[in-house]
């Protein structure tokens, strides 16, 4: 039996009278790559917001590594090693790529003990060593993600696909045990997407569990160990890609539209 990292139990979210998620149940095991898919408005991003503390569910619980996340603030959840990226605003636009990653290293910069601030301001040895280590780590991450050539450019000036990479780099900087990626390949071309799939596998091989929300069906099918399908706020199917591909309920609810997306994408990149 694999170790469960994240489990969503009976979660429901309402916006006023609107039900965004009704009774959602699923789990992610350690070392897995799981995709959460579903048509627009199915509640995927809402689910992410619940898991990372940006939204409080009306009902149900989110458990991460055995701890109930109820009432925890987003930064406290990040502190537990559950880190997410964002669909739209994935970078700090007015900072360089390198500085973006440095900001992401915030958790590493926190010195233990009460004197952290004084040490940092006076430049005491421990703070200096920590600063040096952070800078080295930032440079390493920028290299690893493949953006070395753009390290000193403002993140806001990068292409959309490159910004997604910066977003992932700064999420990695925060030392995740589990990474939630919100539509990471939207805006990437086919070759960028291909490289990104490789990257996701590399991240997993470093021991990070991954949950992603994505519209790009070929990408989802190739990268996922398991897929959870959401429609109208409830889970309609769950299983490995081959099963999901054949599931009639999924085809009905989703793949029709997904196929259209694929056609569109091919047209765009032709």
């Amino acid at each position: 039996m694999a170790e469960t990292v994240l489990s969503i139990e009976h979660v429901a979210v309402h916006f006023g009278g609107l039900v965004a998620i009704s009774d959602m149940n699923f789990h992610v095991n350690k070392g897995e790559i799981v995709s959460l898919i579903g048509p627009n408005g199915a509640g995927k991003t809402t689910a992410f917001n619940v898991m990372t503390g940006f939204l409080t569910p009306a009902k149900g619980a989110v458990n991460y590594c055995g701890a109930d996340l109820k009432g925890k603030k987003p930064h406290e959840i990040a502190d537990l090693g559950l880190i997410r990226t964002f669909q739209r605003t994935s970078v700090f636009p007015n900072d360089t790529v390198y500085d973006n990653v440095l900001i992401g290293l915030h958790r590493q910069g926190e010195l233990k003990g009460k004197l952290g601030l004084a040490e940092a301001i006076l430049g005491l040895p421990r703070a200096r060593a920590s600063e040096k280590a952070q800078r080295a780590r930032a440079a390493e991450l920028v290299r690893w993600i493949g953006l070395e050539a753009r390290a000193n450019d403002l993140a806001g000036s990068l292409s959309y696909g490159e910004q997604r990479l910066v977003g992932v780099a700064l999420a990695l900087a925060a030392q995740p045990k589990m990474l939630l990626l919100d539509e990471p390949v939207s805006g990437m071309n086919a070759s960028e997407t291909h490289t990104f799939v490789q990257l996701i596998r590399n991240i997993r091989d470093r021991g990070v569990t991954i949950l992603l929300v994505e519209h790009d069906m070929p990408m989802v099918m190739s990268v996922s160990d398991r897929i959870v399908v959401l429609n109208y706020g409830r889970i309609i199917a769950e299983g490995p890609p081959d099963e999901i591909r054949k599931n009639p309920a999924v085809i009905e609810a989703y793949l029709g539209q997904g196929a259209k997306d694929v056609v569109k994408e091919v047209a765009v990149h032709a």
């Binding site: 916006f15 006023g16 609107l18 965004a20 809402t46 939204l55």
Partner: protein
């Protein structure tokens, strides 16, 4: 008890003009998202217009009021066109600082032109107050109350019954969509600022004769207007009217039962309390999250 009744009457007179100030500012703040620091100077300007028309031009008191309102309208439109229109799309801090610059320049201008000595404005009402039982109120203050009430009704009708008002409300909801539907957003912004300014000028013109007129009189008025807007909720006209009366009540009771020195602290305390405990204002509608 008698004292309390007197405070309540004073509250009505004060609250009417506060409501005018608040409606003007809540329109500008709500529709344009501009923190308008010139609101107080428009109030001052209205009072000086009153002074000029009555004393320097020697014209009728009742004529001076519409003159002040129209002058406030024109000055507001001028400020919007020269300072705010070129900055459309700038962040709220930038427009706020520009408004601060305009406020400093205009207030110093008022000091330069009219001097720092407070001026009083004569009024045609009898000196003896109207006495009803334990309560006495001057005829001038009664006039102020009725004029303010009339202007509030006019502002209400403008926003709820006219085409312009409809376009203003649409812009408040969503300026991009309003623009797509054919609303001339630039014109709406100018109108909004001009109307808001004319209401501030009206408040100044009404209270000028009650108190005295001096260049810094608008500073406190501006802060009070902010308190009213925060109390009533952004862009909420009814909220602004109720907020105006609540502030007036708090000031009357604070001055009467705590210490007159802290009368003007009431507005600030209200702001701090409301923003800490109920940041959307007392009368805000519950909004959908997300």
């Amino acid at each position: 008890m008698d004292q309390l009744l007197q405070h309540l009457v004073n509250m009505l007179v004060l609250g009417g003009t506060y409501a005018l100030l608040g409606i003007g500012l809540t329109l500008i703040f709500g529709i344009m998202n501009v923190v308008n620091f010139t609101h107080g100077i428009l109030y001052t300007f209205g009072a000086y217009m009153m002074f000029i028309v009555v004393h320097q031009l020697g014209l009728n008191f009742f004529l001076a009021l519409p003159v002040a309102i129209v002058a406030g309208w024109l000055l507001g439109a001028l400020i919007e066109i020269t300072l705010l229109r070129p900055l459309r799309g700038a962040d709220i801090d930038t427009t706020m600082l520009v408004m601060i610059g305009a406020w400093i320049a205009m207030q110093s201008g008022a000091l330069w032109i009219w001097g720092g000595v407070a001026k009083s404005i004569d009024n045609p009402f009898p000196d003896a107050p109207l006495v009803i039982g334990p309560v006495s109120v001057s005829w001038l203050r009664l006039f102020v109350l009725f004029a303010a009430a009339l202007l509030i009704v006019l502002a209400y009708s403008l926003i709820n019954l006219t085409k312009l008002g409809k376009a203003m409300r649409a812009t408040f909801q969503d300026s991009d969509t309003a623009a797509l539907m054919g609303v001339n957003v630039s014109l709406i912004y100018t109108s909004t600022f001009a109307i808001g300014s004319s209401l501030a000028a009206a408040a100044g013109a009404l209270l000028g004769p009650v108190y005295v007129v001096f260049p810094q009189m608008g500073d406190l008025a501006a802060v009070k207007a902010f308190a009213i807007v925060i109390l009533g909720g952004l862009g909420n006209i009814t909220g602004a009217v109720i907020g105006g009366f609540i502030l007036a009540l708090a000031e009357e009771l604070g001055a009467g039962y705590v210490s007159s020195g802290y009368r003007d602290a009431m507005g600030f305390l209200i702001i701090i309390m409301v923003l800490i405990f109920k940041p959307t204002g007392l009368f805000a509608r519950a909004e959908r999250v997300g």
